[in-house]
């Protein structure tokens, strides 16, 4: 009888183990839910893993709409438009959020020596790239607009959260950091809602929270500059980081057979043409990455790499029109090449 009992127990143990193993094999991967919305003149997607109540998406997108209503240059009713309308007319009290974002924008303008400058508004407006009627501006008009670009002419008054744009006609354009700021805010809100992992993708401005469901780093593709959307030139592996790319292929128009893209040189007023095809920044703050990707693009290969190597915790992938890919010092093995036509230079 004792043997029978033992054998029966053994049989049960075997079944239990087999069942547990099979249960593990069949366990579905963490549930993934995505929602998209049209904001900041692009498609904004949020992907959540595990339990994701619909209210979380609503909460985040509502907050994004609030941010857009304050920072959108092209919305006449936005706080930013109100500020720009009063350029040269005295300090304007603005919402605290706008005050802080403009302050950050000016700080990045200073850090990059003006290669990124949020007072580029008058020049951007003249070109209207990505708008309804883009065209190459008259050179006199461009010179006049360019004379208004100067981040040193933005003065802050902490008391009353007021901002002064010193000259009439000045215009702040937060297009270079608004998506980054919003993505940072979305990620913060998601963390506050208890999400340990998520992907926030605001028109290519990516924030990757935590790791993939299998606890390995996220694999973020970098758009190939010469191919259609979705074709990658390389992949970066990141954990709790943001990946932001500025590329000349993203927004452009053609006139008389010449292609004009949207990244404008703050010194000449024309689209930057320096052999760089795209710049990808990997760091902790999406707003910073947004500003730096534009600045590095404008500065070009050598000065751009020098700028990035001066920051802690900032990495860069620069793709040139000569089929070369330059990587910053700390990127290590986190970058892998997809298009082997390109040569990687570390």
């Amino acid at each position: 009888m004792g043997v029978q009992k033992s054998l029966r127990a053994a049989v049960i143990v075997v079944f239990v183990l087999l069942t547990a193993a099979a249960g593990g094999l069949g366990a579905p991967s963490e549930e993934k839910t995505s929602e998209a919305s049209f904001l900041f003149d692009t498609v904004c997607t949020i992907t959540l893993y595990g339990k994701a109540p619909a209210s979380h998406f609503i909460d985040v997108f509502s907050r994004m709409e609030e941010i857009e209503s304050r920072l959108d240059l092209y919305d006449d009713g936005s706080a930013l438009s109100e500020l720009n309308r009063h350029a040269g007319m005295g300090p304007v009290a603005v919402p605290e959020e706008l005050f802080e974002v403009v302050k950050h924008g000016i700080a990045y303008s200073r850090l990059t020596g003006g290669a990124f400058d949020i007072t580029i508004g008058p020049v951007q407006q003249l070109w209207d790239i990505g708008g309804d009627s883009p065209e190459v501006p008259d050179s006199a008009d461009l010179a006049a607009a360019l004379s208004l670009v100067d981040f040193k002419k933005v003065i802050f008054f902490e008391h009353g959260k007021r901002i002064l744009l010193e000259s009439r006609g000045m215009m702040i354009d937060l297009g270079g950091i608004a998506k980054g700021y919003a993505a940072d805010q979305a990620a913060k809100l998601l963390r506050d809602l208890g999400h340990r992992r998520a992907l926030v993708n605001f028109g290519g401005n990516l924030v990757a929270l935590g790791t993939r469901p299998d606890d390995t780093p996220w694999r973020i593709g970098i758009q190939h500059p010469d191919r259609s959307r979705g074709d990658t030139i390389g992949i970066v592996e990141v954990t709790d980081a943001t990946v932001v790319t500025s590329g000349k292929y993203e927004r452009f128009f053609e006139q008389d057979g010449i292609r004009y893209h949207h990244i404008l040189d703050t010194t000449t007023g024309y689209p930057v043409e320096n052999g760089v095809a795209s710049v990808t920044i990997i760091t902790g703050s999406s707003m910073k990455a947004d500003a730096l990707s534009t600045a590095v693009f404008t500065l070009g290969l050598e000065a751009g790499l020098e700028l990035v190597n001066g920051f802690d915790g900032v990495e860069v992938v620069i793709v040139t029109e000569n089929d070369e890919i330059y990587l910053s010092k700390g990127i290590g093995d986190d970058f892998s090449l997809v298009d082997t036509r390109f040569k990687v230079i570390r």
Partner: protein, 125 residues
């Protein structure tokens, strides 16, 4: 020679239960990778999901007119849209999970879901 124990009715039930669980888990494990591809279309008028195995031509109303989408041979593409830049039309066919395009002016967003996972989790562009 080892004498096999006499199994009681409960043992048969337990064995059957374990086998059933193993079978169910195996089915679940192997079926999740071959889920059929779907097309998710998000518009101002709501969200719609289509089976990519069924060919169809679909019209969606937006703020500036009609965006026409074609599902054919397991792929989806924007056939026409009243936008100026035609980025959505020029995006071509979407066929892998995670592929997407959008007509921003007409507020139409389409994405392939449920197909085999692509090599990357997201795209920076």
């Amino acid at each position: 020679m080892l004498k096999l124990p006499r199994l009681r009715p409960f043992d048969y039930i337990a064995a059957a239960f374990a086998v059933a669980l193993i079978a169910a888990a195996a089915v679940s494990a192997y079926s999740s990778g071959s889920e059929a591809s779907r097309l998710k279309v998000q518009t101002a008028g709501g969200e719609f999901v289509y089976d990519l195995r069924s060919d169809a031509t679909l019209d969606f109303d937006g703020p500036i007119g009609i965006t026409r989408i074609e599902i054919k041979d397991g792929t989806a593409r924007v056939l026409s849209s009243p936008c100026r830049q035609q980025i959505c039309v020029n995006s071509g066919a979407l066929d892998s999970g995670g592929d997407w395009t959008a007509c921003l002016p007409n507020r139409v967003f389409l994405e392939v879901t449920g197909a085999d996972e692509t090599e990357v989790d997201a795209l920076s562009y």
